[in-house]
């Protein structure tokens, strides 16, 4: 583990370099991590206490804005940093660079790249290419640099990306690859090259370039996240040849999360929290992982906490809204929606939150409208596609739902929700066999979710297919995955009953009964289980046990009670056997 102080120094230098190159979102990220590092108590000064967080009672944190001048030899330099501190290649920026940078800051990208047209230093070349790329790039959210909607319309035209832009992108790529060949490129240039290659669809080359970039300059989070988006399987991830650096841990954390290895990811974040104990980023990521593990209550607390510390945060808030949706917390959701809308209503996340709110309110048309808006802002916004699919399903517009889900799946083929949605939609249309394929797909990506197994089982169970054996197998899997809704056990019992396997049926009814007892539930399922068990045990001549179930039934009113009474009578008769009957027969 590297020391906190060395981390801090690295990040500080990195922020300067990143913002010098106008990689603002990476700089922003680094900044967040910088203040996320827990302050050493030795560095404590009372003046810093005003930065202390009020929210969480455990948390205390100190600003670090004046510690550059006071190095801590005992901590900071006791061990050499894993990677040499980032070095500036040009100490003094050229005048033209300064001008270009200010143009860039004013979002005058063309102008910025024009100013730097003849500059040969690596830094200038990077900024020129980067500015050019930003002009060309039609993705709205590139490296977090938001582009205005009008600009999009101007650029896009009816054909999407216009030809001219494509051509310029090709020439940009050519220039970068030439630079790379001659070695006249720094790690930032490599990063940009990787991004351009990714845009062109050349994933493996892009990966190679990005790996080279992060190995030589690990503090550029944008490069890491681009790399992460290119790691679509664990094999690819493992095949990457990455130098050890604490930034790699961040990368692995988010990569694991994307690959649905949530516990691994959580472990990474826990490890990182030793240093970056106050990082909002880590907290949000942990919340995400917990969300995937369906720990909604915990996630809600974490997000509340997060919002208290960082009230104008919009990132990841769509996830929070999902949690609130799942918990059906209408008021909280509307509060959140209002808040993010005030912060920035032209973010896809904001629109998505509002969509969720309307969906919870049952106003599906409006929800669709907001999801659409989110998608207009970011066409690759996965969860909006999926959520829109859900809305269409609610509106019984299956073909639109299918279309939306399919788009989600094409954006990210690992999205099990969308696969599940597709299956559901086809099942709704009475095509259970066709739907099975989709359910299978979704289960492939999330094999430990009982809901998916139950959905598949229902498909098999449908009257059209009537493949009960397969259904039983699915329900068994669901039970093994810890079926929370308790459907699987009941269904298993019923199916076995239907197939005439009374022993198995009794076994599952018993299990189901145990579950209901443990959860303190009652209902028709319980009556059913009790009646079956009682009858079954009675026919098997286990009268004592049968009596237990019967007496339990007697506690309830309704036809079951009568049934229990008659059963009991039968048991008595059978138990006392014929003698008693004889007694009746022969009056004294």
């Amino acid at each position: 583990m590297v020391s906190k102080e060395s981390c801090r120094n690295e990040i500080r230098a990195a922020i300067r370099q990143l913002s010098d190159r106008c990689l603002y979102s990476a700089a922003k990220w680094a900044g967040e991590q910088l203040v996320g590092i827990e302050q050493d108590s030795s560095n404590f000064t009372p003046s810093n206490t005003r930065f202390q967080r009020g929210s969480s009672s455990i948390r205390r944190r100190f600003s670090t804005n004046e510690s550059i001048s006071t190095p801590q030899p005992s901590v900071g330099f006791s061990q050499p940093p894993a990677t040499p501190l980032p070095q500036e290649d040009e100490v003094i920026d050229g005048d033209l660079y300064l001008l270009a940078k200010s143009y860039f800051d004013c979002r005058e990208y063309r102008r910025a790249s024009h100013v730097l047209r003849d500059q040969m230093s690596k830094k200038s070349v990077f900024l020129r290419c980067y500015a050019l790329y930003l002009v060309l790039c039609t993705i709205q959210y590139f490296a977090g640099e938001k582009r205005k909607e009008e600009e999009m319309v101007e650029l896009e035209g009816p054909l999407g990306k216009s030809d001219a832009i494509n051509r310029e992108l090709v020439s940009l790529e050519r220039e970068l690859s030439a630079l790379k060949r001659t070695g006249a490129i720094d790690s930032f240039g490599l990063y940009l090259y990787g991004v351009v290659l990714k845009e062109k669809g050349n994933a493996s080359l892009a990966r190679a370039s990005l790996v080279e970039s992060v190995n030589s300059y690990p503090w550029n989070w944008s490069a890491w996240s681009e790399l992460q988006s290119l790691c679509t399987s664990i094999e690819i991830l493992n095949s990457l040849n990455l130098n050890n650096h604490w930034m790699k841990e961040f990368f692995l954390g988010s990569a694991y999360q994307e690959l649905r290895m949530h516990s691994e990811s959580l472990a990474k974040y826990e490890y990182l929290q030793d240093i970056f104990s106050f990082s909002n980023y880590i907290q949000a990521q942990t919340a995400k992982a917990q969300y995937s593990l369906r720990e909604f209550d915990q996630v809600e607390i974490m997000f509340e906490d997060l919002l208290r510390n960082d009230p104008y945060r919009v990132e990841d808030m769509d996830l929070y809204s999902n949690v609130l949706y799942a918990k059906e917390a209408c008021a909280a959701l509307s509060y959140l929606a209002h808040k993010v809308f005030l912060t920035d209503k032209y973010r896809p996340e904001s629109c998505c939150i509002v969509g969720n709110y309307y969906s919870l309110k049952g106003q599906h048309e409006k929800a669709v409208m907001y999801f659409r808006r989110a998608l207009k802002l970011n066409k690759k916004y996965l969860s909006a596609w999926t959520l829109m699919g859900h809305e269409y399903v609610e509106m019984k517009n299956t073909s639109a739902a299918i279309d939306a889900y399919r788009r989600a799946v094409d954006v990210n083929p690992c999205d099990y929700r969308a696969w599940y949605g597709l299956g559901q939609a086809y099942e709704m249309m009475g095509m259970p066999f066709y739907a099975l394929h989709y359910f299978r797909k979704s289960i492939f990506f999330l094999p430990n979710d009982s809901r998916l197994w139950i959905a598949m089982a229902k498909c098999y169970q449908s009257e059209q297919l009537h493949m009960l054996e397969e259904a039983i197998k699915c329900y068994k899997r669901a039970v093994n995955c810890g079926d929370t809704e308790g459907i699987a056990l009941n269904q298993l019992a019923k199916l076995h009953q239907k197939l005439g396997r009374n022993e198995e049926a009794a076994f599952y009814f018993e299990k189901d009964l145990e579950r209901m007892d443990a959860e303190g539930l009652e209902g028709p399922n319980m009556f059913e289980a009790l009646v079956f068990l009682a009858t079954h045990l009675k026919t098997n001549k286990k009268f004592d046990e049968a009596e237990v179930y019967c007496t339990r039934l007697l506690d309830y009113s309704g036809p079951e009670k009568e049934k229990a009474k008659s059963l009991l009578r039968g048991i008595r008769m059978a138990q006392t056997g014929f003698p008693s009957m004889d007694m009746e027969h022969f009056p004294l």
Partner: protein, 920 residues
């Protein structure tokens, strides 16, 4: 859903539309004179009017022409005042120096519209009626302009600048080329313009009944295949409007007009950039590609198609048919997962309507989509990849869903597919396949045998297809029926048993009837082509998956029609027969050939195959063509010897890629086996036999034909190796299998083989019943050639009982002789000849010295044929007999000659070398 991207289809002001507006201003200036200034005559004025009408009509859908093209067209319209017109146009454009000018321009435009209550107008006044086509156009332009935001206006302004600049830069060019090409072009363009005019006037009348067929104009599809970015951009533009255009046939016609005009301009000016691609064109082009994939099968490089599709998809992300093409491509390159993935994606996106919606507006637009088609396709995909159980489940679901959505067309196709599936796989299917059958059709018939189910399904499908007038389906159903009748004995299958065996019959007459009914399609089609559009509702490139070994395609295909007409234009006797129709008819010829093969007429079989290969070879699918080649090569091997056959095989192998289980590979193995057997190379024969068996799937009941073939050959190999009891064992178990799976026709040949085995083992008495049984089977199934061959065996058996039966044997043989000599292959004929000689020689009443020629003639004939066949064993026998006869006659020299030949064959038989012509 596609509404997300529909914005592109809205009416937007473009520089071209402004040009039209400027011209309209000229046409109907607000200062109302009877004839505006530049026009010298009313006809001239009208001419411009019609031209403008055609322009406004095409404004919705075309990729807009550049200014220079517009000017070129104006030159033709304007006649003597063209210079004035173009000058005015360019001047007007150059006077637009700021966005504000645009605003003023559109304000002026408002002036040329007459007021709505312009009843009071004088007669000779020129007023643009706001409700006329032109008036509507102007109003739409004004409205669209007013809706523009300021950025939009600026955008328009810059694009006008570009528009004008392009024209300037190329106008010089034009002048040069104009001078060079001279009056020829002028003339052409005049014609073209006239055409446009005529078209435009016709158009007005046509509008009322505008629901006719969708025209396809495919210019140089080859060029498109190379996909220059430029071209595809147009395609893309048009594609993005597809939702709109598909609902509006009127627009489609306008497009057609525009296409005609622009393409002629292009042809003369060689201006690539103006190629237009409507959605229909792209769809048609894709259909053509689909056809190409299907026709060339796996020989077409799948990666080249893939890259082309990738490009197309990048440019037109909303064109979902690309996914379908990709599916087809993957299907033919045997990539199961990719094929499945793309099929599902296609239907998820298009809901089964894109590509199918062109022709069936009435039943379309159901909000449920047409997912039953997805099921049908999926079922056929599973079928092709050899998952009959899955296929059956999916098709069952397809039946259910199409009933639910009352899509009778799909139902008919599904039933046809199902019957096809059952007849292919179902012969094999014991309860495992059909055990859990929920189909409403099959469940009622759960007690029936598979064959009966096939029959019922076919009948049902035929009935539906007939009522729905799906002619192609009717035809292919007839063919399927013919095939069924050909292969399966008549109905009373349930009462199979020794007593009922008399009633087992095939009925050649009904086969013939069905084939003819199938071929009626041709006359039907030429009689009424309009109904074909209904057929097209299931465009059904996908139905092509149906063709399997028997090469019996169920096609219906609306698109094929348009494009393959290019081929047929060259053979004028078949003009306007769509590819799919010719494919079905071709298939009927193949089926005829097959039936003649079975019934035992070699010449007829050969003739039909040749007819197919010459007439339908170009339009056929690869599997059909493969089948035809196979038949011809088989014929060669049987009647001309192996040398020719192998030479032909080589050609065929070059033409068709030999992938696993391809027919050509099978044929090769068969030929090699046959050849090795004849040459006495038993090891090789055994190896070939094993390889053949290895091709079959291990699943019980699948690939039965192949399995039967393999074990039949195995028994023959064992027989040749003189391992009689083993051979008999194999044959016995084979017979049991055939009986179990109801393979009646194969039974006959197995029985014959058993008789043969007993004959060879010298146990003639045991062989007799088998031979007789085989003959009776052949009789009831009308297998004449097989019967002749069985009769020969029977005669041989009789002779084997002793020479006192020679007379009877000879009589039998003579009875079969016409059939054997007329239709039999080399081997059979030689055998008959030798046997005849044998009979004579063993007949005590026959004297060699007096009647030597009868014997010698036959023997000579036999030896010639056997040498061609390289059948050493029989050849040796023939020469031996010949030498004996010569010896008896005392012709020593000839005797020696025969003896050396005998020796040669014997040594060749004893030392079989691997001097295979490196075919193995």
């Amino acid at each position: 859903m596609a509404g997300l991207t529909r914005t592109a289809g809205a009416f937007a002001v473009t520089p071209h539309k402004i040009s039209v507006c400027i011209l309209l201003q000229l046409y109907a200036p607000s200062a109302q004179m009877s004839l505006p200034f530049p026009f010298s005559s009313i006809s001239q004025h009208n001419r411009l009017g019609l031209y403008l009408l055609s322009l406004t009509k095409s404004c919705d859908d075309i990729f807009e022409p550049k200014l220079e093209n517009l000017i070129n067209q104006l030159r033709e319209v304007g006649e003597d005042m063209d210079a004035w017109l173009t000058d005015h146009l360019t001047n007007r454009f150059s006077s637009l120096t700021s966005p504000d000018d645009l605003l003023n321009f559109f304000n002026d435009m408002r002036g040329i519209l007459g007021s709505l209550d312009s009843v009071a107008a004088q007669d000779d006044q020129i007023i643009l009626d706001p409700n006329s086509n032109l008036g509507m156009f102007v109003r739409r332009c004004i409205l669209a302009f007013n809706l523009l935001s300021f950025e939009g206006v600026c955008h328009l302004f810059t694009s006008i600048e570009v528009y004008c600049r392009e024209a300037h830069s190329s106008s010089a060019q034009y002048d040069a080329s104009n001078d060079n090409l001279g009056s020829l072009i002028q003339h052409d363009q005049m014609d073209m313009e006239k055409y446009i005019m005529d078209k435009a006037t016709e158009e007005i009348e046509l509008q009322k009944n505008a629901s006719g067929r969708v025209p396809f104009h495919l210019h140089t599809p080859e060029a498109l295949f190379k996909v220059t970015e430029e071209q595809m951009k147009h395609a893309c533009l048009l594609v993005t409007r597809k939702e709109k255009s598909s609902t509006n046939t009127k627009k489609a016609e306008a497009t057609q007009l525009a296409c005609a005009s622009s393409s002629t301009v292009n042809d003369t000016l060689v201006d690539e950039s103006l190629f237009l691609r409507t959605n229909y064109q792209i769809q048609g082009f894709l259909m053509e590609q689909a056809d190409a994939i299907e026709t060339h099968g796996s020989s077409l490089s799948s990666s080249s198609i893939e890259s082309f599709l990738q490009k197309l998809q990048n440019l037109a992300p909303e064109l979902h048919r690309v996914h379908f093409l990709r599916y087809l491509n993957k299907l033919h390159s045997d990539d199961y997962f990719a094929a499945l993935e793309n099929l599902l994606r296609y239907f998820d996106y298009s809901a089964g309507t894109e590509g199918f919606d062109l022709v069936l507006p009435s039943t379309g637009c159901s909000m449920y989509g047409r997912y039953e088609i997805a099921l049908l396709c999926l079922g056929m995909m599973h079928f092709r990849f050899g998952h009959p159980n899955l296929a059956l489940e999916v098709l069952t679901e397809a039946v259910r869903v199409s009933q639910q959505h009352s899509n009778d067309t799909c139902l008919a196709y599904t039933l046809a597919a199902m019957s096809n599936l059952l007849s292919e796989m179902g012969i094999a299917s014991t309860t495992s396949v059909l055990g859990s059958s929920y189909s409403p059709v099959t469940s009622t018939a759960s007690l029936l045998s598979v064959q009966q189910r096939v029959y019922i399904l076919l009948k049902e499908s035929l009935r539906r297809a007939d009522t729905l007038k799906l002619r192609r389906l009717v035809a292919s159903n007839h063919l399927a029926m013919a095939k069924f009748e050909l292969m399966h004995v008549q109905r009373p299958l349930l009462s199979f048993g020794p007593k009922a065996s008399v009633r087992h019959k095939t009925c050649p007459v009904s086969v013939c009837k069905e084939i003819r009914l199938g071929a009626h399609l041709l006359s039907d089609f030429s009689a009424e082509s309009s109904t074909m559009t209904i057929d097209g509702s299931l465009s059904s490139v996908w139905l092509k998956d149906l063709q399997k070994p028997w090469g019996q395609p169920v096609f219906s295909q609306e698109s094929g029609s348009r494009k393959s007409s290019t081929f047929f234009q060259f053979c004028d006797h078949l003009v306007s027969i769509p590819g799919s129709v010719s494919q079905i008819i071709g298939a009927s010829y193949l089926l005829r050939a097959t039936s003649w093969e079975l019934y035992g007429s070699a010449p007829m079989a050969r003739m039909n195959t040749l007819v197919y290969a010459t007439l339908f070879g170009d339009s056929s699918s690869s599997s059909d063509a493969e089948l035809a080649y196979l038949k011809l090569i088989q014929h060669l091997a049987l009647y001309k010897g192996y040398k020719d056959a192998f030479a032909a095989l080589k050609i065929a192998e070059e033409k068709f890629l030999t992938v696993s289980k391809s027919k050509i590979l099978l044929l090769k193995l068969q030929l090699l086996h046959e050849h090795a057997l004849h040459r006495g190379n038993l090891k090789l024969a055994q190896r070939m036999c094993n390889e053949l068996g290895g091709l079959a799937s291990t699943t019980m009941g699948v690939d039965m034909e192949l399995k039967v073939e393999a074990s039949l050959r195995e028994a023959r190999t064992l027989l040749a190796a003189k391992q009689y009891s083993q051979a008999a064992n194999v044959a016995h178990s084979l017979f049991c299998t055939c009986h179990k799976f109801n393979l009646q026709i194969e039974k006959a040949s197995v029985l014959l083989l058993l008789a043969e085995i007993h004959k060879k083992s010298g146990n003639a008495v045991l062989g007799l019943p088998y031979a007789l049984a085989s003959i009776s089977f052949c009789q009831s199934f009308n297998l004449d050639l097989l019967k002749a061959s069985a009769t020969l065996t029977l005669a041989e058996l009789w002779l084997g009982l002793g020479s006192n039966h020679a007379k009877r044997a000879l009589d039998l043989l003579h009875g079969a002789f016409p059939m054997i000599l007329g239709h039999g292959g080399l081997e059979l004929r030689a055998r008959a000849y030798i046997f005849e000689a044998n009979c004579y020689l063993s007949d005590p009443s026959f004297s060699v010295s007096t009647d030597s020629d009868t014997v010698l003639d036959s023997l000579r004939q036999a030896s010639d044929e056997l040498q061609a066949l390289e059948y050493h064993e029989l050849a040796a026998e023939a020469f031996y007999l010949m030498a004996m006869v010569y010896d008896k006659l005392g012709r020593l020299e000839e005797r020696e000659e025969a003896a050396t030949l005998f020796k040669k064959h014997i040594t060749a038989l004893e030392n079989p070398q691997d001097e295979e012509p490196n075919m193995a």
